[in-house]
Amino acid sequence: MATIEAAGLTRRFGELVAVDDLDLAVDHEVFGLLGPNGSGKTTTVLMLTTLLRPTSGTASVSGCDVVREAARVRERISYVPQDMAVDIKLSGRENVSFFAALYGVPGRDRVDEVLAIMDLAERADDLAGTYSGGMRRRLELAQALVHEPEALFLDEPTIGLDVAGRQAIWAHITELRRRGMTVFVTTHYMDEADHACDRVGVIAKGRLVAVDAPAVLRRQLGGERISLRVDLPATPVTVEGARLVRREDDELIYHADDAAETVPALLAGFAAAGVRVRGLEVAAPTLDDVFLALAGRQDEGGSFDYRRFRNLMRRR
């Protein structure tokens, strides 16, 4: 049995189906759940961490059901939400000791140990208010690790951190996996997921549309990515064998099975249309491309519905 399992997991908020019939098994790996804002990532994590009751379907952590055996699930997991909630008027050590006491972990040894693992030993007695963002996130990881959980749930662990901070967090996550922990992460950062996750799942409008290793997903998307920089205004030309997948200002991104054939055709097409092409790049597809192909651009179009958002927050 996998550490984290979900079968037919569904959550409705009134008419909105936030998570729709999700099946998943995650075991001894770093699993990344990717999805646009409002796609159901956080709702999924809240259900797996017993903070939200599923409308239907089941989920379990280490064989314990998240509804019927919620207390036993909570003994086996740690959850770090994206808010970065550490007590700034307490020292790093006090922040961790506080969680150790609530987890029923006795003594100071384990507290010192996790602080050392997260490279916070030297600053352990400083108030957390003097910590940088990256250190605060590492302090939260230290809190989460103090009772040696079997599964670790991280919601956007690198949000708002600088490059060095992000790298440090991912290095720690990878190290935890190496020691046998199951890590469930949600993230917006595709390049980070590509590097650090063993497998990723793409969720769109509550449905899990793909689950596999990042490299496999990239290969499945197949072909090549042709990126053209053109002078504006420009109407994209259509050429057989090439599909326009994205447009960012003056950059047009096509996806083609065989770039060697389609690039000359594209260039000829733009020349005929009188559009000057200033740059050309052919590369293997990135996880960004996979993500956009699978999840689309859900966020554009519909405006942010504040009332629905508030209701959603209130119900959880």
Binding site: L51, R53, Y79, A85, K89, E94, F98, A101, L102
Partner: protein
């Protein structure tokens, strides 16, 4: 029980290290004691300070207790609550820890105000009255903290909470027996004041200095506090699952 104390210790530490907050909450009741207690010319008593001191102690507890919910609101807004709810320790411990913290904080603030009253010349505070005062304030404080934390479960932001708090605190204080005895109040005010739990707490403390003590009021406060605690746990369970 252990988890309750852990949450309590966290809040205590954070509060004490907030230095400014520790003292600022004392300014209002101290001002009442000094500028009203010492200055107001009254005909119904020789020592208005002795009369008003129990009222101001209960006022201190009233503001401290009503403030208790804001601590829970911030835990909710800043994401602490979700972290705590995912912990294996009993979830109600979060609530009981808050109620305990709010009540103890109020008792500490009331102690400073009591000391100030004695320094200003209040004569009623015999050791047995002090002990009795703590008992009454504890029950009254538990009632208010249970109420204000329940309120915090439903209010979405801190502004909304502060508004409701202001809406309730002032009228509760002014419609109580804090500032004058029932027989000098206009009849309409006396009618309201007799049913105000704030008056019950004040009258209990005053009556201990001049018996008989209305034990039924104490019983009523205890029952109210227990009922409010039960309602609060029920609401907390409903909101967090």
């Amino acid at each position: 029980m252990n988890a309750v104390l852990v949450y309590f210790a966290r809040d205590m530490r954070r509060w004490i290290r907030g230095r400014f907050n520790v003292w600022s909450a004392l300014i209002m009741p101290a001002a009442w004691l000094i500028f009203v207690g010492l200055a107001l010319p009254t005909r119904f008593t020789d020592s208005y300070l002795d009369f008003i001191a129990p009222g101001i102690l209960v006022l201190t507890m009233l503001s401290a207790g009503m403030q208790g919910g804001s601590s829970l609101i911030f835990d909710k807004i800043l994401g602490f609550l979700n972290k705590f709810l995912a912990l294996p320790s009993p979830r109600e411990a979060i609530l009981y820890g808050k109620i305990l913290f709010t009540t103890v904080r109020g008792l500490l603030q009331a102690s400073v105000i009591m000391l100030l009253a004695v320094l200003l010349g209040a004569t009623i505070f015999t050791p047995s009255l002090v002990a009795f005062t703590y008992l009454v304030l504890f029950v009254f404080g538990a009632l208010l903290s249970a109420f204000s934390t329940s309120l915090a479960l439903f209010v979405q932001d801190h502004d909304g909470y502060a508004a409701v708090n202001a809406l309730l605190s002032m009228p509760l204080f002014f419609t109580s027996s804090a500032l004058m005895p029932y027989d000098v109040m206009p009849p309409w005010l006396a009618a309201i004041a007799r049913y105000n739990p704030v008056s019950w707490a004040i009258d209990l403390i005053r009556s201990f200095a001049a018996p008989p003590v209305p034990w039924t009021s104490l019983l009523a406060l205890v029952l109210l506090a227990l009922a409010m605690g039960a309602v609060s746990s029920l609401l907390f369970r409903r909101v967090t699952v």
